[in-house]
């Protein structure tokens, strides 16, 4: 009886360890199985029929029904320039130039990978609606309130650990992502030193 119990306990411990390590792999995989351009993480295997099992699992969890890179590219920022999780208590500014693609957008997702539960109707900015400055750059504020911002993505109710996803649709053939060509995120301030 004791031996049966020991075998069952060993298998149970193994199952728990296996489940925990799989969860850990998916958790770190969103950044570690991806290419990085500045703060942006990019998984070239999204939607691909050639994706490996880890990439496929990570994408299925974080971006089910993503298009393959032939059609669209997805870049995501999870942390600020100090490596801290993005937080509703901070004010950020994203700056960029027009991208060499047919259309692009930047969308904010809460830590559950859905739109933040606010009714500001400011979950994203996109190439068809954004206003450019005279210097050819666009700037968007990412904050809980719009204030005097011209372009705004609301982080109200996004809590801590939200992410920003850049979608690039129909990139031109010579589109080459780089830390310099992709939009830059800057932390302007954080309430209470968050």
């Amino acid at each position: 009886m004791g031996r049966i119990f020991a075998w069952a306990a060993a298998i149970l411990i193994g199952v728990v360890l296996g489940a925990a390590s799989a969860w850990g792999a998916l958790e770190i995989g969103r950044t570690n199985f991806a290419e990085q351009y500045g703060a942006w993480h990019f998984n070239h295997a999204a939607g691909s029929t050639a994706a490996g099992p880890y990439s496929r699992a990570v994408i299925a969890r974080d971006g089910l029904l993503a298009l393959s890179a032939r059609e669209a590219l997805y870049f995501t920022i999870f942390t600020d320039d100090q490596g801290r999780p993005l937080s509703e208590s901070c004010v950020y500014e994203m700056t960029g130039r027009d991208l060499d693609a047919r259309w692009w957008s930047v969308t904010l997702y809460a830590d559950d990978s859905f739109l933040a539960m606010n009714n500001d109707h400011a979950h994203s900015v996109d190439a068809s609606r954004i206003s450019y400055s005279a210097d050819g750059y666009w700037r968007t504020r990412i904050s809980p309130v719009k204030g005097d911002a011209i372009n705004w993505v609301s982080s109200r109710a996004a809590r801590r650990g939200f992410s920003l996803t850049l979608r690039v649709y129909n990139p031109q053939r010579d589109f080459r992502p780089s830390a310099d060509s992709l939009p830059q995120l800057t932390t302007l301030s954080c309430a209470g030193g968050a």
């Binding site: 939607g47 699992a57 029904l65």
Partner: protein, 180 residues
Amino acid sequence: MGGEHLRKYVWAVLISAVLTHVAIIYAVPNVLMNVAISRLSDMGLNRWQVAPRVTEQSRTIVRPSPDFAYSACTYDLSRGPLVISAAPWREYWSLSLYADNSDNFFVIDDREAHYGAEITLVQRGRAHPEGAPMVVESPSARGIALIRRLAPTPEEYSAAAQVAREDVCASAASLAATGR
């Protein structure tokens, strides 16, 4: 407990941990796709459903874009091929197909199909219908077809949803029987 027994238990822990880890990693895409298929097929299989405009209340599929009008058809090819068509839209639009392991195995957009797209979807390994102009093979019997229409404003969403009524996702046999 002797050392030999202890080694056996350690091996049991390691082997069951590895098997569990691998099983979960391989199962995640299929499980999540099955959940998505189940959620999207509430209104039935093999028919388009125009999703309401994406808002913070949209919780069916992770990371929806609020700038698109989505139409989804959860398909089941076990009873034969389907005809899937997408009506054209004045902005970017695409028709994409996903296998039950989450692979995006087919996509066509308005650059390639100015006047809309029509395909016949067949399960891989099954016979192609005679005379079908554009046959696409699905690696799995079940999956999801998705149309994205760029529509960032409420007005554009309404217009896109109107256009989406012309999309077709239906059994090839039933369409043939009705003479379409």
